[in-house]
C-alpha cells in the first residue's frame, strides 16, 4: 500500500502543463479576477446603501457577476501551469521559470505593502480621528483585497507579462 504522504508528494511533483494560452486570453482572466473584486465591493455597497427592492436586485446581479468572474479567474489562473509558478514546487520549474517567478513575487511586494498600509491607515483613522466611521463592509472589502493580492498577484503578473509563444515555438 502506498504511503499517503508519498502519494501527495508525487502529486506535487507531477509535470507542469505547457499550455498557458495566448496573452490576450491570460490578460482577460487577470481582468476577470481583479474586476471581480470591484463587482463584489459594488454588490456589498449596493446592499448597504440602497434600501429598496431594486437595490437588492442590483446587489444580487453584481454579486453573481463578481463570484462568477472570480471563479473563472481563479480556476483558470491557478491551474498546474507555469502561470501558477508561485504556488508550485521549485523542482517542477526550470531556471528561467524560477527567475520569472522570483521577479513576479518581488514586483508584488510593493503593491501588497501599499494596499496593507491603506488598510492600516483606515484602521488608524477610524480608531482615533473619526470614531464611528468604521464600517464592517469596508473592513471586509479591505481584507478581501489583501487576500486576493497575496494569493493571486504574483501569478497575475506572470500571466499578464509572459509573451505570446504562438508561432515562436513551433520548430
Amino acid at each position: 500500500m502506498i504511503d499517503p504522504s508519498a502519494r501527495f508528494n508525487k502529486l506535487l511533483e507531477a509535470p507542469v502543463s505547457d499550455d498557458i494560452g495566448s496573452r490576450i486570453s491570460r490578460r482577460r482572466k487577470v481582468a476577470a479576477l481583479f474586476g471581480s473584486y470591484f463587482l463584489i465591493c459594488g454588490a456589498t455597497a449596493a446592499r448597504t446603501l440602497l434600501d429598496s427592492p431594486s437595490g437588492g436586485i442590483i446587489a444580487t446581479v453584481l454579486m453573481l457577476a463578481g463570484v462568477g468572474a472570480a471563479a473563472y479567474g481563479f480556476i483558470s489562473l491557478m491551474g498546474r501551469t507555469f502561470i501558477n509558478a508561485p504556488n508550485l514546487r521549485e523542482s517542477v520549474l526550470d531556471e528561467r521559470q524560477r527567475q520569472r517567478r522570483n521577479d513576479a513575487i518581488q514586483r508584488s511586494f510593493p503593491v501588497i505593502g501599499m494596499f496593507s498600509a491603506l488598510c492600516l491607515l483606515y484602521a488608524m483613522v477610524t480608531d482615533t480621528m473619526v470614531p464611528g466611521w468604521r464600517n464592517a463592509t469596508v473592513v471586509e472589502a479591505l481584507f478581501w483585497g489583501v487576500f486576493l493580492l497575496c494569493v493571486s498577484l504574483p501569478s497575475a503578473i506572470i500571466a499578464w507579462t509572459e509573451p505570446d509563444q504562438q508561432g515562436l515555438d513551433e520548430a
Binding site: D18, F82, D94, E95, R96, Q97, Q99, Q165, L168, D169, A171
Partner: protein
C-alpha cells in the same frame, strides 16, 4: 556598483537545426522547458553557467563555440571566408 550585463549571443538554434532536433527534444535532453529553449535561441534569456555547461556537453563543443559576447559571423563566412575578388 552592479554592472548591467550586455547581450550574450549564442548558436543554439543553428546547432539544434544541424542535429535535426526539435525544441521539445533539446529541452527534454537538457531538463528544461521547451519555451526556455526558444528564449535562449532568441537571446531573450541568458542561461546560468550550469545550464551553459550542460548545453556545451550535450552538443559536444566548447562553451565559447556556443556563446559569445560579440555577434557570431555568418557560418558561410566562417567556412569559406571572403571570396570577393579585389
Amino acid at each position: 556598483m552592479a554592472q548591467t550585463p550586455g547581450p550574450l549571443y549564442n548558436r543554439i538554434a543553428v546547432l539544434r537545426t544541424e542535429r535535426g532536433l526539435t525544441r521539445h527534444a533539446l529541452a527534454a535532453a537538457l531538463g528544461i522547458n521547451y519555451q526556455t529553449v526558444g528564449y535562449l535561441e532568441r537571446g531573450e534569456y541568458n542561461p546560468s553557467l550550469e545550464l551553459a555547461f550542460r548545453i556545451a556537453e550535450y552538443v559536444g563543443l566548447p562553451i565559447d563555440a556556443i556563446f559569445s559576447r560579440t555577434p557570431f559571423p555568418p557560418m558561410s563566412t566562417e567556412l569559406y571566408g571572403s571570396r570577393r575578388e579585389p
